[in-house]
């Protein structure tokens, strides 16, 4: 077992354990912080699998923007403690059953591919320069569409926030 394999299993363990802890927390801030740890480990995993630019982008975008946005909204919305009850017993049984069925299907599929799926990955690194050149030469249309999508999201969020703020301001004035 090489050092790369050891690193992979260590990172995989960190990712799975921190994500499993994150989804079982009652406190939302704790869940978000455990998920941040999981994303850091996932970024290291990307670096191990030869994608340094994606590792940095995961930290900058996923952790630095998305999870911070989650934390903003979590701290902004004060949630009544009674509304965070766990799910009912019947629903827990259903989700556990479906999760188990899915897991069995996945394990079957993964190990039924034969010897071709068992060859170890050869380490390689995609340098950011080469990756950027490939991305903008071959997939420039996708990049433009993605930026358009982000623009649409921005306009949508601005509209939703503006209307909600106007609605709550009107509600406060009505109460007075």
């Amino acid at each position: 077992m090489t050092i790369y394999a050891l690193l992979f299993y260590l990172l995989a363990a960190v990712i799975l354990v921190s994500t499993a802890i994150a989804v079982t927390r009652r406190n939302l801030v704790h869940a978000a912080i455990f998920l941040v740890a999981s994303f850091f480990a996932s970024a290291l995993l990307f670096y191990l699998l030869g994608a340094p630019l994606l590792a940095m982008l995961e930290i900058i975008v996923y952790v630095g923007a998305i999870m911070v946005l989650f934390l903003f909204v979590i701290m902004m919305l004060k949630e009544k403690p009674a509304s965070n009850r766990p799910a009912a017993r019947g629903r827990k049984l259903w989700t556990a059953t479906l999760g188990l069925i899915y897991l069995l299907a996945v394990i079957l599929l993964v190990f039924a591919t034969g010897p071709r799926g068992q060859t170890p990955l050869t380490p390689a690194v995609a340098s950011p320069a080469a990756f950027g050149r490939y991305l903008f030469q071959g997939h420039w249309l996708g990049i433009e569409i993605a930026s358009l999508l982000l623009l649409i999201a921005l306009i949508g969020v601005l509209h939703l926030g503006h209307t909600a703020a106007r609605r709550t301001a009107a509600g406060i004035e009505e109460e007075k």
Partner: protein, 105 residues
Amino acid sequence: MIVPYSHVLLLSALLFVVGMLCAVGRRNLIMILLGLEVMLNAGAIAFVGAALRWQQIEGQTVVIFVLAIAAAEVSIGLALIVWAYRRTESLDPERLQDLDTAEPL
């Protein structure tokens, strides 16, 4: 040599199951969105592993788009959650079940 690709796929599948259980089994809108994010991350891990397995950079370009889409989806989802909170004063999805006759968005 690193691990076989089937191990990367197994990690991705386990992470996906954890995200799915969070999105389906939690009665909190923000936890549902967090489960979605975990599932997207699992898909990204599978794609990066595939890029290394077949030594093609195509898999990593998919992850770029997954990142952009996740960012857009989270921002709109959180704006909707804030809207739902202002309507029902809670983060419980069961409070949003009924169509009522209030003013539209």
